[in-house]
């Protein structure tokens, strides 16, 4: 078992492969060429590293014509990568203190399938303050008022709760070191915000920007300035 751990750690530890995993963290699929650009290396090199990751069972590849799309083979992989990202502030707290400026990726990004970063923590705080969700000892609960609120957003919470996956759970934000919402409700909320153009994805990045429309709506509906 120890040996498996050593092997897995070695797979993740190589800089180019670490960059691949980092890039895949927002849950999208990427082609080898896109990943080569992200990791700043050659096509042949990225191909070799991708082969190792697939062989180790961390990634899966899907063929679509002459493109091959790579993504995590399961949520567990994404969670492990996210857990690894969580310890960064510990590993480099000196640097973080020195540099007070906040980067776009710290401000707002996707975390596998939900929103993360300073904006996501702000939104979570607003949901709590408006009593749309409540914080229990170790998890979040949806209030009747919250159920209505998400219904207005055209999100069917009953349907989401019947799914096997976690409905609403706290997820530790590595950049803010505070909790934001995750689970199927958070994922559905992200989708709706993208659909209504409240937020937009930045191409080839995990960064998300809030549009003017989004700022207006989030203020009207949650009394929050993002």
């Amino acid at each position: 078992m120890k040996d498996h751990f050593k092997k897995t750690a070695a797979i993740i530890g190589e800089p180019v492969r670490a960059t691949i995993l980092w890039t895949l963290l927002d849950g999208k699929s990427f082609t080898a060429t896109e990943l080569a650009i992200a990791a700043e290396t050659s096509a042949s090199n990225i191909s070799m590293h991708l082969a190792k990751l697939v062989n180790a069972g961390l990634l899966k590849a899907e063929n679509h014509g002459r493109h091959r799309y790579y993504s995590f083979s399961g949520k567990e992989i994404a969670y492990a990568v996210e857990a690894l990202a969580t310890i960064i502030p510990f590993a480099s707290k000196k640097n973080l203190q020195a540099d007070k400026t906040i980067s776009p990726v710290q401000q707002c990004r996707t975390c596998y399938d939900h929103l993360a970063g300073k904006t996501s923590v702000t939104i979570t705080d607003a949901l709590l303050k408006q009593k749309l969700i409540i914080a229990n000892d170790t998890d979040f609960g949806l209030t009747p008022k919250g159920k209505k609120w998400f219904a207005v957003m055209d999100i069917d919470t009953n349907e989401l709760q019947q799914q096997r996956r976690s409905f609403l759970r706290p997820c530790l934000d590595w950049s803010e070191r505070r909790y934001h919402i995750a689970g199927s409700l958070a994922a559905a909320f992200l989708d709706k915000m993208l659909l209504h153009d409240w937020i937009r994805r930045i191409k080839n990045s995990r960064v998300i920007v809030v549009t003017a429309k989004g700022q207006k709506n989030l203020y009207e509906k949650l009394k929050v300035v993002v």
Copy 2:
């Protein structure tokens, strides 16, 4: 931020350092010499790797005379390492299927500060079946009946609940791929079982064995055969 992730991954990825982290996972402190034996390398080499881990903020060192004890610098590090261990079954599922025999470390071990492995899942199931704890959507809750049960074990649940740390939470078991109990209650339970000699630590290992006394008591008190 990506660069920090790359660095952190590289720190963890080296085999000797991965072994150090793995060994430290049960929350105990180890000396450089003990870790050298566990990682099967020289004293000078382990010293170099330990220096890198401390420098990266993953480990802390405490001097006690001529011994220097190394341990995780925080719980977050242990959780990240545990999350990494969670993906092992994915990375090597073929091997796991082939080998049906269960190793001692899969049977019963410590996971940072609480019990893990097949035994821990069995105990968690029994606690649920006896309605001493209940499974909510995303967490576990302690019932009044459970409160009494732990009081008989000389565990003051009120006091534990007042602590800032998580009281009772599910923790995914990487070997069983099911949940066992974690949090301050699980940690206190582990301590009591060790104190009353229901279970014993195996030297220089995360493995735990259940004593005859422990088997008797777990059957009497939880109607469970471990």
